[in-house]
């Protein structure tokens, strides 16, 4: 990635942190998530431009979003995401959103189940849970699994970890 692209991304991140406009019009991933602020000033073109600049290779072979039809799974966590943004919603950008999110996930000791929160019943039945960041959960299990966990509260993780 060239210096210009790097500077552009850093500038966007800085503006987002300082709430002075730019991508999402200064709406942080946290705000987007909690719905306490409304996204404004963001056009799909802004996002495409940003994504084009962010030419970092996605760390996974598989895309979090297979098609525009999957965008709702991302919107389950970030309500201001629109279907029209799809072409720009690459892995790098999605990971960026999750890295700024203020929510996390929980795993049981055997890492067989993924939880969206920790409740007394879980501890009684599954033992003490430990938390993992939203980004780590995304990278390990993918967006579809996280959405399923959110829909039910818990999901079995199909992994041999």
């Amino acid at each position: 990635m060239g210096n210009t692209a790097k500077k552009k991304i850093q500038g966007i991140i800085e503006r987002r942190r300082n709430n002075v406009g730019g991508m999402y019009g200064g709406l942080s991933a946290k705000d987007s998530f909690t719905g306490n602020a409304k996204a404004k000033g963001l056009s799909p073109l802004d996002l495409q431009g940003w994504a084009k600049g962010a030419s970092l290779a996605a760390p996974f072979n598989e895309n979090y979003l297979k098609s525009r039809e999957d965008v709702w799974k991302l919107r389950a966590f970030f309500p201001s995401i629109k279907d029209e943004m799809f072409p720009a919603l690459n892995n790098h950008y999605i990971e960026f959103l999750f890295s700024e999110a203020d929510f996390k996930f929980y795993l049981d000791k055997e890492k067989q189940f993924l939880f969206i929160n920790e409740e007394d019943n879980d501890i009684a039945y599954f033992g003490k849970l430990h938390s993992i960041s939203a980004l780590e959960a995304l990278k390990r299990y993918g967006l579809a699994t996280l959405e399923k966990a959110k829909e039910r509260g818990r999901t079995k993780i199909k992994t041999n970890e």
Binding site: T34, R75, P79, I116, E119, N121, K150
Partner: protein
């Protein structure tokens, strides 16, 4: 509701008090999540709702051959997916629908808990199975209404179900 005795109706009222306050979708887990298109539709599914009366079991039963149903429920075993009902309790009562019921207007493709409420608030929600011995298995796995509930609210839901199904009720996690 005429098949409930006065005492049972009191139990139901008490159970409702224990489950209060009712919550909007995802409110209990403090997630602000928009309801997607089709997720709050209720009209197309009303004819598929099952509104039980006392000791009234839905018709789709898990066959005995499945084995340990509690384990299968815990593991979200695909073999029992087609027998799964989703349920809610709100001030209009208790109702359920087969989870696999198609919802062509929603991206997820099938119904969800808010299709039982029209996106309105509910006291509790979860999943339900009935085996061929008429044992009812419930959990509180609903990100929309069940998750984030207190132990007292869960106990209220169990008390509510016990009025309907008595000792043929199994609580799952």
């Amino acid at each position: 509701m005429s098949d409930f005795s006065k005492k049972e109706l009191e139990q139901l009222k008490n159970a409702i008090r224990r489950m209060e306050p009712s919550a909007l979708p995802f409110e209990r887990i403090k997630f602000s999540r928009v309801l997607e298109e089709g997720e709050a539709d209720i009209e197309p599914f009303i004819s598929s709702f099952f509104l039980p009366s006392k000791q009234d079991y839905p018709s789709c039963r898990v066959p005995i051959s499945i084995g340990n149903l509690k384990e299968a429920i815990r593991d979200d075993d695909k073999a029992i997916a087609e027998y799964k009902y989703i349920w809610v309790i709100d001030y209009d009562g208790f109702r359920m629908i087969l989870d696999k019921t198609p919802n062509p207007n929603a991206r997820r493709g099938n119904v969800c808990h808010t299709n039982l409420t029209g996106g309105k608030s509910a006291l509790m929600g979860g999943e339900l199975w009935v085996d061929s011995n008429q044992t009812v298995y419930i959990n509180f796995l609903s990100g929309r209404y069940g998750r984030g509930s207190t132990n007292e609210q869960k106990k209220g839901a169990i008390e509510y179900f016990e009025v309907y199904y008595g000792s043929s009720l199994e609580i799952c996690y």
